[in-house]
Each structure stands twice: as C-alpha cells, then as structure tokens.
Amino acid sequence: MKHAVIQMPKRVLVGRPLRTGQMGETLLPKKLALPVFCSDPLSSVAYATEEILLALSLGGLAMFYLSWWVGAGVVFLLLVVTASYRQTCHAYPNGGGAYAVSRANLGENASLIAASALLIDYVMTVAVSVAAGVANIVSAVPALSSHAVGIALAFIILIAVMNLRGVKESGTAFAIPTYGFVASVFLMVGVGVFRMLSGHPPVAESASLGIHAAHSTAGAAAVLLALRAFAQGCTALTGVEAVSNGVPNFKRPKSRNAATTLAIMGLLAVTMFGGITALAFAVHVHIANDPAQLIGAPKGYEQKTVIAQLGAAVFGHGSVLFFLVQAFTAAILVLAANTAFNGFPILASILGGDGYLPRQFARRGDRLVFSNGIVILSLLAGALIWAFHASTTRLIQLYIIGVFVSFTLSQAGMVKHWGAELRRVSEPVRRRSIHRSRAINFVGAVLTGLVLVIVLITKFVHGAWIVVVTMPVVFLMMKAIHRHYRRVDAELAASEDDVSLPSRIHAVVLVSRLHTPTLRALAFARATRPSTLTALSVATSEEEAQTLQREWGERDLPVPLTILDSPYRDITGPVLDYVGRIRVRSPRDVVCVFIPEYVVGRWWEHLLHNQSAFRLKARLLFRPGVMVTSVPWQLGSAEAALARRPEEAGFAARRRVRSGAA
C-alpha cells in the first residue's frame, strides 16, 4: 500500500515510465528543438534592450543616443557567436558545448572552468528568467507584487515537473508561447514601423520624462558608461550555447539539424533585438536605473518594462494586443528557464560520466531524462530566487559572467581545434574554409574575452564577485570529486592474479534468546560448514545468562555456546572485542558473523526491534576480514506487507509454504 501511495502521484505528475529502447522517440525535430533550446536566447531580447537603457540612464537622458551604437555592437557579437557555435555543433556532435570543446583542446582545467561557468550559468538562467517573467507579470498586474517570490517558485516547480515528463513533452507544451512571443514581437515592431511611416508615430508614456545624470558624462566616464551598457546588452547573447550542449537530443542528422536550428535562432534573435532597440529609440522610451532620477514623473509613477511601454505605445494601453504581448513576454521569460532545464542535466550527466560530479547524474529517470539534474537545478535556482527576492537586475549582474567565461573558452578551444585540423588537412578548398572558420572563432574569442573583462570591471562591485567566488568553489569541488573517484578506482581495480580463497571460515552466531529465529540462524550457519562454529551471547544480566545456558543444555545443541562478560552492560563492545580476538591462523582466514534479524512490516516496529543488531552490524562492517550475514525472520506484519504489494504476491505465497523450515 505504501508503494501505491508513493507511486500514484508520481505517475500522475511524471507519466508512465519509458523503456530504454524508446530513446529514439524522445528525439527532437527542428520545430520542437527551437522552443526547447532557443527560448532562452530569444527571451533575452525581451530584457537586453532594457538593460542597455538602464545602464545608459546613469549618464542622463543625453546618453540615450548611444543606444544605437551599443545595440549594433551587441548584434555583431551575437552573429559572431552564433556562427562559431554552429561550427561547434558540427565538430562536437556529442554535446557538452564549451566543456567538450575545451576538454578536447585546452585541457582538463580549462574544461572544468568552462563547466563550472556553465553550471552556474544554468542555475542563473533559471533564476533570472523566472524572476524576469514574474517582473513582467507584476508590471501588468501590480497587485501581485508582494507575492513575486512565491509566484517565481511556483513557476520553477511547474517547469521542473514538465521537464521530468520528458524533453519532447515539455517541448510541445512550450512551443506555443515561444512561437507566440516571436510572432507578437514581429507584429509589434511591424505595426510600430507602419505607424511611423504612415505619419502617426507611436509615443511612449515615458517620452516626456527627463532623467538626471547620476554619473558625470565627461570624456572617459562616457566611454566607461558606454562599455557598461554594452556589457549589459550582451545579456542578449545568453543561451546561445544551449543548442551546442544539447546536440544529442536532436533528430538525425543531429549536427546539421542543430546547426540549422542555431542559424534560425540567430536570425530571429538579431531581428527581434534590433527591432525592439530601434523601436525603443524611435518612440523615446525613457527608463531610469533609479526612479529618483526621473524628472517630471507624476506622483506614484511606477516604471514599466521596455516591452510593456512599447506595447502600450504601439497598440494602445489596455488593448487586447497589448495584453497579448505582455502575456507572451512573461511566458517566454519563464520558459527561458526551460532551456537551462535541458542544458544543465545533459552537462551534469557528461560531467557525472567523466567522474567530476556524482555518478547518479549520468543516470536516466523514468522518462529518459536526467531526473537528478533537473531536481538539483530547480532546488538551486529556487534558493537563489528566494535569496535575491526575485529581483531581475540584481540577478543579471551575477549572470553574464558565467556565460562569457564559457563563450571565451569554447571560442578559444575552437581556434585550437581548427589549428589541429589545418595540420591534418591538405586539400586547398577545405583549408580555405577552415581558415575562414578559424578567423570567425578568433574574432569571437577576442570579443567575448573583451566583454568578459569589461563585465568583470564594471560589475565587480555590483555583485559579480559572487560568481567570481562561486566558480572556483565549483571548480575545486569537481576536482575533488574526480580525485576521490580516481583514488577509489585505483583501490578497487582488479589485479592480475585471482583473489585467493579464504582458507578457514570462523563462524559466530549471535544469540540473545533461544527462539525460532536463533535456531534458524544456527541451522543455516551449520549448513554452511564453517571451519569453526560458536554461538555467542553477551551476559548483560546473570539470570538471562543462566536461563540461556540451561535451555541450551536442554536442547542439546551441537554448537558450543560462549557467553561474554560485559562489565559495562553494552552488547556491541564485547562482541567486537571477541571477533577481534578470534584466533586467526593465517591472514586468509575470515570471520563470518551470523545475525538473526526480524523483518517488520510497519515503520514503528523498527523502533521496537533490531536496534542493537543494526548498531552491531554497522560497526562490524568496518572490520577487515569480517563478513556479516543477516538471517532474516519475517514477522507476520512483514508477510502482510509483502502480500499488499501485488508484484510480490508470488513471493508471499511461496513464503507461506515454507513456514516450517529450520
């Protein structure tokens, strides 16, 4: 019954377990892979523009003219990174993205840095995107703002459960919001452009507001501000690496499908980001890092997200289309987390397989997804959201560093990869294309490295140091896990020569009272034909010892009974002591301790039985050369428990026939 109670909700939530042979059915066609892997990069266009404007607002309204240039820089970087990750998909079709690339080309340490960056990045992706989605919901329905953390946690649980149901299921469920978001953004940009061309340009509600400069904008400060805005805008790139991590999940031909999906995603992201940034510039969306910087804002004015302001300006505040844009934006922001839910378990499974994380991560669950990774990811992300009160801007500060570390490493790894290819290939046509690929990767590596440095400098004090501290911790943890696994493997490795047989077995049967379980254990021990056999009892009281001795004599048992003195009344100590003192003639002798044990069917019965037996067993297992044999005795309640489980009813029936044994 206990079994069924646990089983049922799991069935309802997760679904019927799949056979391993059904693996092929869970692979993704391109049209489903796009929402699964690209919801993250596509969603980041929803807040990248806003991040640029927020950073620029520190320099006052005058700096907003820079948003063009910053936007163009981000688009260029996005194109370069997309192009180079397409090559990664072809070169490393087993997934793992930056980790696999740097492992093959840059060595263990670099790959682990990339892996720790990616792991942190995935956790951040979930936290950031869910927090951003909730922020958008709150923007539309301000009454919910006090429950932001609760809503965010609920979304994480929902996405985790969907992913536990399987990649394909979650992909199908999440396709509508993803495509809906793409369509709604294009519609918004299109209508906006049309209205501008037709002479009725839309105007944002914040267009009339001015912004105080919080920083000076003279000379170097302006450059620094622009760089910071660029770094903020680079959030638009986050998630591009997801496809290259998940190549094994694509339908055949895997690499080509993955590369095509990546190209589609790159084009969509570039046009959407460009459109939104241009529109925001055209309709004069003014947004300030700190609401106090706003000039001329009405009392109680609450800043809306850029997407919300654009939607209101283009479609009119309160119109159906405005709410549609809002709804799809919120949906895709929440779903961006889904990308991480696909990337993290795959990466964790690869790391688990290579022995850098616990091996359980490499095991597939009921629905052929890496369930352990999904569960761990949702726990970590939930903790992060809770700790940062679901605040997007505060979380994004942490976020972008991990992404760019993995970008830089994977690009650098690809440069080396092409170098190795060049030494191998001699046809001129092929060499030319390799040279071109290497150039792309080189530009990508330099640019992403540059962004990484900028981000580190400009954001260190804003919270980026948390990642800078966390990454080495994760790195060292993986190293330590690997060292441990390697040490254990070396210890357990089977040597050339066979394991020698134990020369003698000294059997010891533990006796507390003379009852059926004890007699059965004795009978079993005798049947194993050990070299020596002793029954062992500990005298905690004189009467008990005498009763036992008398009964032993009356039964005429052909086994010597040794009674141990226990001056301090404990059972474990004297037994351990005795086992240690058994005369072992050769190092190949072993001691076998038979422990009669009751098997009980109800949880509370565990509290009443077996306590000293369990303690003793736990201690004996640490002794070298000592084997412990449990001789179970199924109590009536255990038999009833067995009969309650339908799949084991056969056992129960056989057990009933046995009753007389021993």
């Binding site: 004599g553 005429d556 003195d565 301090y568 003192r581």
Partner: protein
C-alpha cells in the same frame, strides 16, 4: 589480546598522579579503565600478572572471567573460560566438567595451576580456583 592498551599492559601499578594523571583518567577508554582496576585487584590478591607468568611453572593468577564457553555434548566434556587480569588473558580449562556453579562471565576468580602454551596462548588445565565476590 590485540586489544590490550599498551601503556597499562606492563602492570606497573597505579598511573601518574597530579594533573597529568587526572587528565589521563578523564581521557582513557573504558578498556583502559577496566585493565587498570583489574590490575589493582590482582595485586591485592597477591597474584602474578598473567603477562609475567612463565610457561611450565605453577602460577597464581586473579582476574575476571571474560568468556565462558559451553562445549556441546558428544565430544570430550570440558568447560572453558577466559581469565583477564588487565595485563593478559589465560584460558582456564576444566577437563571432564560440563558445568561448574559459579564459573560465569564477569566473575572474579583466583586460579592456581601449571601454565602451558597452546597455539600461542596461555592455558591452565584443571586449575585450583577460588570464587571471589563478583566484580
């Protein structure tokens, strides 16, 4: 035998006094405490510490019976017990006896007889014994 605490095995009387002795009494294990107490009683009985017993010499030992083993019927009847006095153990074997009233685990016993070696451990066959008050 392997479990004997090294510093008390010599049987050289009570440990150091003062602060050091106090600290040692606080930190010593149960086994060390037991060994120390037993050595004291052995001294009071005027017995030889088992560790100091020479083989093939008569000796008088005193300590507690750590184990008592009942041989099953069938083979040659014998009662076996292990006497521990804090320095070492000696096996006491009473041939021809299956049970002796008072020979029970935990009992303080003083035994006298010829010490012999069997399989590397000291054995005393059919010792003369006195039962002392239970320890």
């Amino acid at each position: 035998m392997e479990e004997l605490p090294a510093d008390t095995a010599g049987g050289d009387g009570p440990g150091p006094r003062g602060l050091r002795g106090f600290l040692r009494r606080l930190t010593s294990s149960k086994a060390e405490l037991e060994a120390e107490e037993l050595q004291k009683t052995s001294d009071e009985e005027g017995a030889t510490p088992i560790k100091a017993c020479a083989v093939r010499r008569r000796a008088c030992v005193a300590g507690t019976l750590r184990t008592v083993t009942l041989r099953p019927r069938g083979g040659a009847p014998a009662l076996e017990a292990e006497l521990y006095d804090g320095s070492d153990v000696i096996n006491l074997v009473w041939l021809g006896r299956r049970r002796i009233a008072g020979i029970e685990p935990g009992r303080l016993v003083r035994a006298e007889g010829l010490v012999s070696m069997q399989d590397g451990r000291k054995v005393m066959f059919n010792p003369r014994y006195d039962l002392r008050g239970s320890s």
